[in-house]
Symmetry: C2
Subunit: 429 residues, 2 copies
Amino acid sequence: MYKGPAQGFKLERENEYGTPAQNAAVAEIVEAVRREGDAALLRYTAAFDKTTLTPEELRVPQEEIQAAYEKVDAQFVEALRQAAANIRSFHEKQKRSTWVDVQPDGTMLGMVLRPLRRVGLYVPGGKAAYPSSVLMNVIPAKVAGVPEIVMVTPPATGGRQGIDPYILVAAAEAGVTEMYRVGGAQAVAALAYGTDSIPAVDKICGPGNIYVALAKRAVFGAVDIDSIAGPSEIVVLADDSADPGYIAADMLSQAEHDEMASAVLVTPSAKLADAVAAELERQLATLPRREIASKSMEQHGAIIVTQDMSEGVDVVNKLAPEHLEIMTEDPLELLGRIETAGAIFLGPYSAEAVGDYFAGPNHILPTNGTARFSSPLNVDDFLKKSSLIRYSKEALRRDAAGIALLARHEGLEGHARAVEIRLEGRDGK
Amino acid sequence: MYKGPAQGFKLERENEYGTPAQNAAVAEIVEAVRREGDAALLRYTAAFDKTTLTPEELRVPQEEIQAAYEKVDAQFVEALRQAAANIRSFHEKQKRSTWVDVQPDGTMLGMVLRPLRRVGLYVPGGKAAYPSSVLMNVIPAKVAGVPEIVMVTPPATGGRQGIDPYILVAAAEAGVTEMYRVGGAQAVAALAYGTDSIPAVDKICGPGNIYVALAKRAVFGAVDIDSIAGPSEIVVLADDSADPGYIAADMLSQAEHDEMASAVLVTPSAKLADAVAAELERQLATLPRREIASKSMEQHGAIIVTQDMSEGVDVVNKLAPEHLEIMTEDPLELLGRIETAGAIFLGPYSAEAVGDYFAGPNHILPTNGTARFSSPLNVDDFLKKSSLIRYSKEALRRDAAGIALLARHEGLEGHARAVEIRLEGRDGK
């Protein structure tokens, strides 16, 4: 763990572009599924997931989803429903509508907003299958009005009925409309290009391993993709008013995710820095995932002691963190100076875990410094816009000379003529 | 040109992924500029643009921009300013603000919206340098509040003062804050990774040749990019009430762009189909760019005669065109059934050229069927969002059990503890 002034610290981050061998493997899989459809999909599922399926078995039947409800804890369902209600309520507030501006001369200009028609969600198998992420991915699409939301997730190795019932319940609660037991690059290719069993989607969301990430990159353009998730990060900006125990707990909640996760404290207080370092050690000792968390803290953790709070703000803006907690006497005083962060948590009671699971804002956030140019997953990500232009003859007459002049300057005589033909005394019917 | 029923027609479209040799060349250039900065940038400029520059000569000086105003036509500047005012006014209406929702228990949830800090615009050299595209790219960023907008454009071959003065004037009018004489994949790499002369940006916009497109794809992730533009398309949906001369003129204004452009009429009227075919021939004869336009019409043009208007709408939704003109008795009757189009032009006087240059909506639109999932360039493309979460102790106490339950289900004990430590009777300060 780095402990010292801002100058000496550099957060090491790399985007995942994969090795040439990984890229070649993904290219081959994507191409095969594109060309052969279901046949390739089932072949790769047999090879990689050790699961032999018929095309009919790809889709998870309604009975299996019903059966999942019998298997899960009732309290879990209750908590999940409350979380879903909060997420829905927050995302409802993001929703925008079609607008038009009608002018006295008959001109009408506007933007038509519509939901995407069909969206695919990748859910990883095994321990990385998080019900909370299913909610966070699906609900914004649902709120946007997307009618078809398709989930793909690997079949459990060796079995045909192996999808985690908690994932099935989360998907059903969130509003997934179709579920398929297929994973890896082959599932991404199927969503992008479609097969007989799985019709193509317009956008693919959701996290996955390196092969899934590379497949999403490979099909980008044929369909839209969400961002390619990097390792998770938290930065805590704090002063002497903060409780070192809270800070350490939040840093460890990030560090326990995986060894690549990064937890950073930025503070002008040397006293707080020492207290947090001690708390980290104390709390780590009893953490079930202490092996992962301590490796993460060792390699990517830091306590940065700045000259003052102003330098602290600069450090935060440079890091452009996925999660930022501000635990200072008056967090609102600093909020306006924070230029770049995926999610901002204010004050002592806003633990990152509150946002990860429950509060309502999305936990799918820009990682790896990409908060510089990207945003939390939100309703806009599932809407498409069309410009709307209605000109009247009067408006066209007023603007024709300007349009024709600009068009002719660009050498596009046909554009000028398309305007002028309408003013030539023809009736236009 | 295809002429016949909908069943027989398929619009051939391919995304530009480049040849392996082109991709390898681009990868080498990008990597060299990333590693060597200005040295590589100047070396490639000498090699590809036959222009030897010092690092100081990369930036276009204020005097050169001033001098450009002396060289351009006064009427051009006037028309450009009117177009810019219209574009600004339309994009101002897209602008959204930060919002927060404050609840009685002290919870505050919201979204903070901020402009990107620095944006780069690629402007191609030669005949593809369109002043109108400079306006369309820059103004949304300006309206979003982006403080630094950087233009790069190739130096004219062999000269040091060779940038088209019309481009310089358009850039100055639109609000570009820095201009550099550098082009190709090397310019894209410089914008993405920064050099001593050209600081890195957060997002790269603008069209270019295949090398520019591949370079944008290669740096995506390190920075954001706009879409990768494909060939331009128009679809006209019309009935017997439409003037065949207008339709033909609009189709040709698309076809004159380049041989890859596509112009398609969709109509249930065989009579209109014949009349438009005749008009196309008549108008083509005198079009200055008839060679390009007739190749485009031959290879990618079509007149599709549908069984009825309902099938016409289906064809449009399947094509997901960049530009859609609806020239029917009552265009508003059909508008609600159009699911997918970049820009929609209603009625006889809304020539596509009106939108290309003047009306205000953006002419940078999703091509190649990508209107299925993407949108016209707009102010949102230059804003980043941050979620805002402020929980009170009361709210945390209410939700703690649910959060802890969900976290523990996912095996993330540290998340549960980060909530519980705040309710343990510690003072929290």
